[in-house]
Amino acid sequence: MSLTPMALRSVLRTPTGLRPLLLQAPRALYHSYEHAQPPPYREAESAILSSAFTYVPTHGFTQEALTLGAKDAGYLDISTNLFPKGAFELVKYHLTTQRLGLKDRIQFPDGQMGVGRKVRSLVLERLRANADTGVINRWQEALALMSLAENIPASLRELSALSDEIWFLSGDISVDTSWYTKRASLSAIYAATEVYQTTDKSTDFKDTEQFLDRRLEELRVMGGAVGNTLEWVGFQGGALVNLLRSKGVRI
């Protein structure tokens, strides 16, 4: 890692104990145009995981697929010890690579679509990736692995990262509390739709598309209702305060 003279000065000014923190590669929790995101896996890991992933349609998300992948990549059976979480690492590999690949799967023409429509097509595109990689028939196994207690934190982090990615790609630039509610509600909708997708037998996932449309419509109605209610409560509150003031209460 190279340091500019300015950055070096700020490093030297900090107490010795804190310097390692500054010297670490920046890991942004937001989307940054200045910092390139580091690759999610080391060379050996991505070699093993990518070849192991080709065994998922036949062997499922299992240790066996991981072992076969390791052997294909020129490693040994025992080398799967590189992955402390075993088969869950394969699930996470799919989630991470598809999340990072989403921006290349879809391009929006400028100024043609609203944010809501973009979110809808991004969610559908991400779900289509499950089918394109051929893991949709095995995806229930993955959901089962994700729901294990020790894997829940990592799965939720990945879900929120996906939801953040989708809002970012759709061009949402809200900076108020809706930043949080948008991500929370989209996470819930995405998770529900993905569970629905695993049982969808219709051609080209038409049913999943309709399911998603119903959930988004509900969100719109719900969001509208909540907004209206809040507005009404705020209005009534203001009126009440004014009423009390007119009666001489010091508020």
Partner: protein, 326 residues
């Protein structure tokens, strides 16, 4: 004998003042190891200025003496090694070892390989065969692999003798799946480079004089993609309160149990002191990385070591792993 009494009294944490206990009776607690050490000239006990030194428990000794002193400790504990382990760890060491072997998953499943060759496992400091037995059991019973073999290596012939005795009645010995080797882990000349699938060392690396050199030697003998795995005590627990309790146990009870059961306080005093001197999980993982291994779970952008080990029982012990890049 009278000149020995004050030193023995200090070791036993008894006062120097005369008591009703006769001084000769205390001798029964003293080990043969110490008796040997007492006979050595004083100059060899303490390092001279110009020599390279290392630590032996809390003592500082010349580097060339550490191996022989460790050898003396293990020669004296070999016969009741397993009983003592059970007493000191309240039986938990068995769970740790089981977990260690299960997480490594040795053996090759017939489904993943057309003609399974079996793995070559090198168990360093595995004299009594504890780990080797579990490895072979796991490979045979879980992975249905009857080819995998273990080389049990130890620097100490007495410890190896215990292992030979245990394996002599097992089917593994008859099938030729276990062999024994007396070697120093820092200089494994008998083992070819790139020939081992899995290198394990359980509760042994703490006693090595040059740990980094042993790690580099492990890197040399492992095949590309081979795994280095180490089960070892950690100097401090994660929780400071539990750490204080644990230190009470290890410095108070363990030498006492050694004194009562094995009639050998000094060896077990060394044991707890050597745990205290061992590097922390993060430092040791850094040493594994410096030897060239990939640490499992480490993120590509992290420059400081953040992963590569698994704490057992609140961090009393830890499993360290490293994979040799292909």
């Amino acid at each position: 004998m009278t000149s020995l009494a004050p030193r023995a009294a200090k070791r036993l944490r008894l006062s120097n003042t005369p008591r009703s206990v006769c001084t000769d009776c205390r001798r029964t607690f003293a080990s043969s190891v110490r008796a040997q050490q007492q006979q050595q000239p004083a100059s060899s006990q303490h390092a001279r200025q110009d020599e390279k030194t290392t630590h032996f428990g809390f003592d500082t000794v010349a580097e060339n003496l550490k191996a022989s002193r460790v050898a003396a400790v293990f020669s004296s504990v070999a016969s009741n090694y397993d009983t003592m382990n059970d007493l000191m760890s309240l039986g938990i060491h068995r769970l740790w070892k089981d977990h260690f072997v299960r997480s490594l998953n040795p053996g090759i499943r017939p489904t993943t390989s057309a003609q399974p060759q079996g793995q070559r496992i090198l168990d360093i400091a595995g004299g009594t065969g504890d780990i080797a037995f579990r490895m072979l059991d796991h490979a045979t019973n879980i992975n249905r692999d009857t080819q995998t073999s273990v080389i049990v290596s130890d620097i100490n012939p007495e410890m190896l003798g215990e292992g030979r005795k245990r394996f002599s009645t097992s089917p593994y010995q008859a099938a030729g799946r276990v062999s024994f080797m007396e070697a120093n882990a820092e200089q494994l000349d008998q083992v070819e480079s790139n020939s081992i699938d899995l290198y394990t060392v359980a509760f042994g690396i703490r006693n090595f004089t040059h740990k980094q050199k042993a790690l580099e030697e492990a890197f040399r003998v492992l095949k590309p993609g081979g795994v280095f795995a180490c089960l070892e005590f950690a100097p401090n627990l994660n929780n400071p309160v539990m750490n204080a309790v644990y230190k009470r146990w290890s410095f108070g009870a363990i030498p006492l149990i050694g004194q009562i059961v094995a009639a050998d306080r000094d060896s077990y005093q060394y044991l707890v002191e050597s745990i205290e001197k061992f590097p922390s999980q993060q430092e040791f993982a850094g040493m594994i990385r410096d030897a060239g291994f990939l640490l499992p779970g480490q993120r590509p952008e992290d420059e400081v070591v953040k992963a590569g080990w698994e704490d057992l029982t609140m961090g009393i012990a830890a499993i360290h792993k490293g994979v040799k890049p292909a």
